[in-house]
């Protein structure tokens, strides 16, 4: 089993959840009013995790195609 698959799935799911949650609750100070590239911390960190997860899935698929 290629370990990159479960890791890719976990972090893609987490990324979507966190980024989505950040967008829908973009209101309530808790994180020092920090904006990163115009996003709140949940949205930004969710996107970082989503990119990481998708990269893992990409490399797993690439390795599978190369046998």
């Amino acid at each position: 089993m290629d370990l990159r698959l479960p890791i890719g799935y976990v972090f893609s799911i987490y990324g979507l959840m966190l980024a989505g949650y950040g967008v829908f609750t973009n209101g309530e100070a808790k994180s020092l009013n920090i904006k990163i590239l115009g996003m709140n911390v949940n949205t930004f960190w969710g996107l970082v995790m989503l990119v990481f997860g998708l990269l893992m899935l990409f490399f797993a698929k690439k390795a599978k195609n190369q046998g």
């Binding site: 089993m1 370990l3 479960p6 890791i7 799935y9 976990v10 972090f11 799911i13 987490y14 959840m17 966190l18 949650y21 950040g22 609750t25 309530e28 808790k30 994180s31 020092l32 920090i34 709140n40 911390v41 949940n42 960190w45 969710g46 970082v48 995790m49 990481f52």
Partner: protein, 585 residues
């Protein structure tokens, strides 16, 4: 004593008192993150079940795991709760000098293990560290190591369980017994189904969980204090002053946050304690033994050294920021919680998570904490079931079939978890149990390292020397501890329980711990060497081939890309670590 050395000496989770912290207000997103993590952890165990066809598959993953996976598992097995909570606490208490536990007390030993020791461990085909001792010395030396190691791994696992159950009870309001049973059942499920492979795969997932869960704290807290410059200004103005911002400049004498001079740090922490932990602890070495080639096995600890080198940024830095903010606190801002009139450093990390993280990141961070407890727990359980099956059970019943060994490994996993739960319950009743266990581990570890050092790098060390070296070295460590004490400590568990000797007074428990280890190592080394020289060799050169460095064929790695050669990777890591030490001098 030795509580501060916990991250190094044993991968145990302390009882993290969280009194005084408001319970976090978790919502559906936080619970969902936790639930998804637990589902994947158990799912990985079940997915790997079909590959568990032999004892070697279950105990050593059939030696089929890629180097990068073993490397991340190697470091994750050490990422127990103390690594996160304990090192953040030390960062607040000792400042940048806490980095010595990484840049002096871990990296050099990991590089040494990869370049010089893995050829013997992996090449000898030993299934465990105690089995290597049997091949190099004799059966009594193996039994001495396997019994003490089996006891310590179960105990360490139990204390991790206790810490996690205590955390879940305090933060989430779960009953202690329910927390204990649920966390034990999860670890049992994935280790029982997928053996070492499952533990290793999950450790890599847990590694990324910990990085993603904890990294935002350093960023947000650094913003709060005004960046790196703001942190330096606050620390310079704090009561800790210069001591908090220099790692070496204050070590000319004992007047520094650790209370240890530079030679004590280099020899006590950087050599005896760190090499004793990283190069002889089977829970760590087992990850490298699962690698799919000699090259991958040698790279395993060196790959692990790379994130280990950078971890101070997400565990020590938040602690330093917490201290800086507390020393100049403003209303409504962050400050370290107080307990019994003093700063409660153990609460630094949990309190920062609750202060800075909104829902979402909060669930991620709590899941990361849970992952850190589980990775340490599973590492100990998998090491225990291997040592029990191969070094104790198979010694008593040598003619077991592969199927019988596999079955015994599964029984040992269940027994190990149940015994660990027993230790967790004991730890919940008696606060001193962790200090006692770490004390025992400290007494055993330094003599064991001296035995390995002579065994791997000299042909002359023999079984009489090794056995008596271990016995006399351990007895000397116990005696020295009974005569030494840290200033302000009453005679008892923390030392001087025989009689306090003024010559053995140390400014801090930390320095006392370093010197107990130095005395234990030096005594074992000398006794082993002298007795070995006075008695006959017990093994010929032919019998020691592959077990002693000078008699082991050198691994040829010309076919590997130059950057992946262990000597090249190790050199790059060591240059980077020297640069970090100079930068934070």
């Amino acid at each position: 004593m030795l509580t501060e050395l916990a991250p190094l000496l044993a991968n145990v989770g302390g009882a993290v008192s969280l009194e005084g912290i408001a319970k976090p207000d978790l919502n559906f997103i936080d619970w969902s993150i936790m639930a998804i993590y637990l589902a994947f952890v158990i799912g990985i165990g079940f997915a790997l079940k079909k590959y568990m066809n032999s004892a070697e598959d279950f105990f050593l993953s059939g030696r089929s795991i890629p180097g990068w996976v073993c490397g991340l598992a190697f470091i994750s097995a050490n990422l127990g709760a103390q690594e996160l909570i304990g090192m953040a606490a030390s960062g607040a208490e000792y400042g940048i000098m806490t980095s010595h536990f990484y840049w002096v007390g871990a990296i050099p030993a990991m590089v040494f293990l990869g370049i010089f020791m893995m050829p013997m461990y992996y090449g000898s085909k030993a299934k465990s560290v105690p089995e290597y001792l049997k091949m190099r010395y004799n059966e009594p030396t193996r039994v001495f190591n396997s019994v003490s190691f089996a006891f310590m791994t179960v105990a360490s696992s139990g204390i991790s369980m206790h810490a996690l159950a205590d955390l879940l009870h305090t933060l989430l309001g779960w009953p202690y017994a329910v927390s204990l049973i649920v966390t034990s059942a999860i670890v049992l499920a994935y280790v029982l189904k997928g053996g070492l492979s499952s533990a290793i795969y999950n450790e890599v997932l847990q590694f990324f969980m910990i990085v993603f869960g904890m990294a935002p704290i350093a960023y947000i807290a650094l913003k709060d204090i005004g960046g790196w410059e703001g942190l330096m200004v606050k620390l310079h103005a704090s009561p800790a002053g210069e001591g908090a911002v220099h790692s070496w400049a204050q070590t000319g004498d004992l007047h520094n946050p650790l209370g240890v001079p530079w030679y004590g740090i280099l020899f006590g922490l950087g050599f005896v304690l760190s090499f004793g932990y990283w190069t002889t602890n089977f829970a760590e070495v087992q990850r490298a033994l699962a690698a799919n080639s000699m090259g991958a096995a040698r790279r395993t600890p060196i790959i692990g050294a790379i994130p280990k080198m950078l971890f101070p940024a997400i565990v020590i830095l938040p602690g330093m920021i917490a201290y800086g903010l507390t020393s100049d606190s403003v209303a409504g801002g962050y400050s370290i919680p107080i307990k019994d009139g003093a700063l409660n450093y153990n609460q630094v990390l949990p309190s920062m998570i609750f202060h800075y993280f909104p829902n979402g990141l909060l669930g991620l961070a709590l899941t990361a904490l849970m992952a850190s407890f589980m990775s340490g727990m599973a590492a100990n359980v998998t090491a225990f079931n291997t040592v029990w099956t191969y070094d104790l059970y198979k010694t008593m019943k040598p003619n077991q079939t592969d199927k019988e060994l596999l079955a015994m490994g599964k029984y040992a996993t269940v027994f190990g978890i149940i015994a660990a739960m027993g230790f967790a319950l004991v730890a919940s009743k008696y606060n001193n149990i962790m200090s006692i266990l770490q004390l025992v581990f400290g007494f055993v570890n330094a003599p064991l390292f001296a035995t390995f050092l002579l065994g791997m790098f000299t042909k002359r060390s023999n079984s009489s020397g090794s056995f008596w070296g271990l016995v006399v070295g351990t007895a000397t460590a116990v005696t020295f501890h009974g005569l030494s004490y840290a200033t302000g400590n009453a005679p008892g568990l923390k030392g001087a329980w025989i009689t306090p000797v003024k010559a053995f007074e140390f400014p801090k428990e930390m320095s006392q711990g370093f010197w107990v280890a130095i005395v234990a190592f030096s005594t074992t080394f000398l006794v082993n060497l002298v007795i070995s020289l006075l008695t006959k060799r017990t093994k010929t050169d032919a019998e020691l081939a592959g077990l002693v460095y000078s008699l082991t064929p050198k691994h040829r790695d010309e076919n590997e890309p130059w950057i992946l050669r262990p000597a090249v990777m190790g050199s790059i890591v060591m240059i980077a670590v020297v640069a970090l030490n100079i930068y934070f001098w």
